[in-house]
């Protein structure tokens, strides 16, 4: 339709049906293809903005020096992805940022990364990460500023491939 002609009423009805049903189908596909590790509310996943909702809130202490005093900290809740995450962290531009990986399998990370071997769900609950769709251990991360306030938190089951987003959010502090 270039707009040069006035379409008939029948054409208008067909356009309406095609458009509404096509977009309805896209909506159904987008819902059906969400992964088990996603947030039950997709709007809360990777929102890309600091201080959303109730944030900032004080970050609970997970261990001595976690979160790190006097500087930003990124706490990754790695679940079973800890080995892949640790392999990628060396190449990410998080200089000057304390990096913590919460895992249950005792994975080894680089020397600059603190690994906490603890219950992923308990730690994630303490940091207020939302539940994932299947109720399993959350995979995601929280960003804590130099004053010990949680400024950003999200589930992200694909975090290993999206670490540049973490850098962007840390840069926004």
């Amino acid at each position: 339709m270039t707009g040069s002609d006035v379409p008939s009423r029948r054409v208008l009805v067909v356009v309406w049906l095609l458009a509404v049903f096509a977009m309805g189908a896209v909506l159904l596909v987008s819902r059906a293809t969400r992964s088990a590790g996603d947030d039950v509310d997709p709007a809360r996943q990777r929102p890309g903005i600091l201080d959303l909702g109730p944030l900032p809130v004080a970050a609970p202490t997970l261990a001595a020096g976690v979160p790190a005093p006097g500087g930003p900290t990124v706490v990754f809740f790695a679940g079973s992805q800890a080995p892949a995450l640790c392999a990628e962290l060396d190449d990410v531009g998080l200089d000057g940022v304390a990096v913590v990986v919460v895992t249950t399998d005792g994975s080894a990370c680089g020397p600059d990364v603190v690994v906490l071997e603890t219950s992923g769900r308990e730690a994630a609950d303490a940091y207020g990460l939302p539940p994932r769709r299947d109720g399993g251990d959350p995979v995601g991360y929280a960003i804590v500023d130099e004053e010990g306030q949680i400024r950003y938190r999200t589930l992200d089951p694909a975090v290993v491939g999206l670490l540049d987003e973490v850098v962007t959010m840390v840069g926004a502090l």
């Binding site: 339709m1 270039t2 707009g3 040069s4 002609d5 006035v6 379409p7 009423r9 208008l12 356009v15 309406w16 458009a19 509404v20 977009m23 309805g24 896209v26 909506l27 596909v29 987008s30 293809t33 969400r34 992964s35 996603d38 509310d41 997709p42 709007a43 996943q45 990777r46 929102p47 890309g48 903005i49 600091l50 992200d156 694909a158 491939g161 999206l162 540049d164 987003e165 850098v167 962007t168 959010m169 840069g171 926004a172």
Partner: protein
């Protein structure tokens, strides 16, 4: 007639194909599996805005809006500007709601289903206005009653 209609249909198909390609590229610009939610929100918000704008155009100009699919894509692109900035390393901020409620649009009750309903209503309104107000090119001006 026989030569003009196929040409018009071809032109329409080319526009539709171009729009589909652009939308596929926009979708691909989002990464990871949860991107469908974000793409769909901004598409529906952009389409809603474009349909309302086109309805106003038809109401006042009494002609169908030219290239309606281009209006939709343009509005979608405008709504996505903060996501382009994000890919360039700029985190979202609340002022980015200037781009068709880029942030708040995700948090409406009902989420994308609500936007689908609004899209359907805006499409209905636009098509009704086209049906009732638009006149063929070259037709005599109407005398106001």
């Amino acid at each position: 007639m026989s030569a003009r209609r196929p040409a018009g249909a071809l032109r329409t198909c080319l526009w539709c194909a171009a729009v589909v390609v652009v939308e596929l590229l926009l979708y691909a610009s989002y990464r990871s599996h949860d991107a469908r939610f974000h793409w769909l929100t901004h598409f529906l918000v952009g389409a809603f805005t474009a349909l309302v704008a086109m309805a106003a155009w038809v109401w006042f100009r009494r002609r169908p809006a030219p290239y309606p699919l281009v209006w939709v894509v343009a509005a979608h692109l405008f709504a996505m500007v903060p996501d382009f900035l994000f890919q360039a390393g700029v985190a979202h901020e609340w002022w980015m709601d200037l781009f068709l409620l880029h942030i708040r649009s995700h948090f409406v009750p009902g989420r994308n289903l609500a936007w689908l309903v609004l899209f359907g209503l805006a499409l209905t309104a636009h098509l009704v206005v086209v049906d009732r107000r638009a006149r063929p090119a070259g037709s005599a001006p109407l005398v106001p009653t």
